[in-house]
Symmetry: C2
Subunit: 127 residues, 2 copies
Amino acid sequence: MNTDALPSPSAVVDAFIAAWNRGDLTAVVNLLAQDVVYHNVPMDPIMGRPAVAAYLTEAGPFRDVDWTVVHQASHGTIVLNERVDRFTKNGKPISLPVMGRFDVRDGQIYVWRDYFDLTSYRAQFGE
Amino acid sequence: MNTDALPSPSAVVDAFIAAWNRGDLTAVVNLLAQDVVYHNVPMDPIMGRPAVAAYLTEAGPFRDVDWTVVHQASHGTIVLNERVDRFTKNGKPISLPVMGRFDVRDGQIYVWRDYFDLTSYRAQFGE
């Protein structure tokens, strides 16, 4: 593989967030490696692209997605960011302060770990 | 001020974590700016070094402190890290996965924002 042609880890995360913000779940999933581990830290990790795709489909649909990256920094193949993830779900506007850690390999994300307060998140749904 | 002599933002955060790990709360507080904003994101921010010092004193005492930095990356004056903060409080061993964002100015931290799941944290105390 010609790794010279691959986007930087930070650019891969930028593309991932841009895909979310266009509401393009197919592009989101295509930026995940087959062996991805997706871990919302308060919950159990989800292993593998098919399982993550199924989870994201079931968890949604997410409308009016607007993830704002407050800060992002990378170190080798690791990208860390601080974000505010905004979207609408079941008609409710959600705004979630979150930090994420991404590991990138061959232009795809193989670890995606988000840190946030689950109670604050669920309260916005009235749960 | 001769800013050439100042440690890098990442080195300031390293020193801050080293101070925690020695249990040296005085050194911890001395690495905070007078106008620091300390925000555990699920809770209200605490403004100013005296208020933060009072909070940290009241929240503790923290024993056997061992904060492990999993990853850290900086971008300008901003430092982002992923950590596991371990300590003992009231005889209970606590292990908290957290991500933090630090802003550094003149060798001191003036924004410290930690993202974690408050329920997971409190559950470890039996709250």
